[in-house]
């Protein structure tokens, strides 16, 4: 046990120390992307692991990114206030969609399709309000000169790396906190038998809403962070069905029943996309997703527990 703690501490230290010794901007950029998306995928799996397969998380991510950027550009609200407001908005949206779903027992296929519609709604609203959001052409938060803490804008990759690392670690912490809580037991019970769970005194609707709101707000945070880092957001990159599916897939590829599964998924999918992009150059447009799609189908058919999940199950150390 102590050996394990030591290893974790060592890895943590190494991750924190990395940008102080290694500053290749492109590599740091890829690492930041991996960390932000890992956090987003972890956010999804916080609820996805209980059979609540949401295809609406692209919508929550879009809300996080756009609300933050819109407040900054139009009202001059600092992201320090804008991001919490964006999270609140995503939480409210999660309640509006989640409450009827859970109250009226919309589960499985139905839940997936209803949330899929949510992705579509957010995408469509962003496109339709193009006077404010720039529509499908995308949107850029107004730049400050240099790095400004109050605007959460930083020029150097090192700072972003550390921020993303912190947020990613927070995501894992939330995952572990949920894992060790009664809420996890309740959600496992609910995912198996809602009636029996209710007979054990569980308020099924409320518990499902809790985990959904938590997951939605985390995802919105990932969206806001992504927008602040890239300084450019578009409906295609932070909202819509493709993004939702991308989140589900990466989480599934890595394994949703283990804490680091979504992270492994992010590493694999992003490295794959980057490698293809570099390997093929501009000719790669589409090829990365083509291979991605084939891999996903193969994974789901052959390794339903995901890579990390299957490895752990095989070595017998799965929880």
């Amino acid at each position: 046990m102590t050996a394990r703690k030591l290893i974790i501490a060592a890895i943590g230290l190494a991750l924190v120390a990395l940008p102080f010794v290694y500053r290749q901007p492109y590599h740091l950029h890829v690492l930041v992307l991996i960390l932000i998306w890992s956090f987003a995928y972890t956010s999804w799996s916080v609820m996805g692991r209980f059979g609540l397969v949401s295809l609406g998380h692209g919508g929550f991510m879009g809300v996080g990114a756009y609300v933050t950027a819109l407040l900054w550009n139009h009202l001059g609200v600092s992201p320090w206030i804008g991001i919490p407001l964006a999270l609140l908005a995503a939480g409210l949206l999660a309640i509006v969609v989640g409450y009827p779903c859970f109250r009226f027992r919309i589960i499985g296929h139905y839940f997936a399709l209803v949330t899929l519609a949510l992705s579509g709604i957010v995408l469509q609203v962003i496109t339709a309000t193009r006077d404010f959001t720039g529509g499908s052409l995308g949107y850029t938060p107004e730049r400050t000169k240099g790095s400004v803490l109050a605007a959460v804008q930083f020029v150097d990759k090192e700072t972003w790396y550390l921020i993303a690392l912190l947020v990613w670690a927070l995501g894992l912490l939330v995952w572990y906190r949920v894992d060790g809580s009664m809420l996890r037991h309740a959600m496992e019970a609910i995912s198996e038998d809602e009636d029996a769970a209710a007979a054990a005194g569980i308020n099924v609707t409320a518990e499902k809403l809790k985990i959904t709101v938590l997951s939605a707000m985390m995802t919105a945070f990932a969206g806001a962070l992504y927008g602040q880092y890239q300084m450019f957001i578009s409906p295609d990159t932070v909202s819509g069905i493709s993004v939702s599916l991308q989140m589900v897939f990466a989480a599934v590829v890595g394994g949703i029943y283990v804490a680091l599964g979504p992270t492994v998924g992010a590493v694999i999918t992003i490295l794959l996309a980057e490698a293809l992009r570099i390997g093929f150059g501009t000719a790669a447009v589409g090829w990365d997703n083509l291979i991605y799609g084939v891999l996903l189908v193969c994974f789901i058919v052959l390794l339903p527990q995901g890579i990390l999940g299957s490895l752990l199950a095989r070595s017998g150390t799965a929880k």
């Binding site: 397969v53 296929h109 899929l116 709604i121 496109t127 589900v248 997703n289 083509l290």
Partner: protein
Amino acid sequence: MNFAIFEVFDVYLLEAVVNGILLGGVLALMALGLNLIFGVIDVVWICYAELIMIGMYGLYYAYAVFGLPMWLAAPMCIALVAVLGLLLHYIVIRPLLDAAPINQLLATGGVLFFLQSFATVAFGIDFRNLGIRLPVLAIGDMHFSYARLLAFLAAVAGMVTIYLFMTRTYIGTAIRAIAQDRQIMVLMGVDSRRLYLVTSALGGALAGLAACLLVLQYDVHPFVGLSFGPITFMIVVLGGLGNFIGGFVASFVFAEIISLGGLYSDLEWGYVLAFAFFILMMFARPQGLLTRRS
């Protein structure tokens, strides 16, 4: 003066209502295909709209690039998507028949990615169209495009064909019975493998027909599926997954909302309205959503 304004307003309203009905026909066709697949095989093809997209490219290439006549190109396109439906079932769904429903859903989502990027790689990201401009039909002050009218009529013809197939043939009757009660399959001694293949091909053929009709009206590009995929899913959910009649009714309700909503602002807001309506209905009439919940 006021009077005249009202008259103009009414004509536009009527035009929008009729256009809504025309749109509803194509939506109903797509909903029927999805419902058929769900009702019989118990899976949702998330990539349904992408199959249609491939079909649209198929017709574009056959007609506009290779110059085949429409009477040959359209059936070829329908056959192409029907074969795709078969392949989808054979390669992706069949190995997953006993897996968790969510895995089936995700696998077809993987196919969505695959088809989108396949189209990007193979056809590029340019918008393409058939290059035929059908005339506009004027009735009084109202204007309707022939393309829409044609699409509506073809959609109705397609649905009537399916209806006849379902009521007049043995396998059609089996499909209907199973869509209503999946337990029956064992009792009827139906060969489920064959039935699934027939259904998949049929679902594909419906997507192919929808593709032919949509490419008459809209440009095709690799991501075109995203613009009508979500609306199709909302329709089948609201109508009740696997419920043919429900899907049919919901198609026209949605089409009218889009068309009338588009009347007062632009079409995108019609979509936004339709989405809002969907969420509202989930609060108001969840029973509509629950008809086939296991």
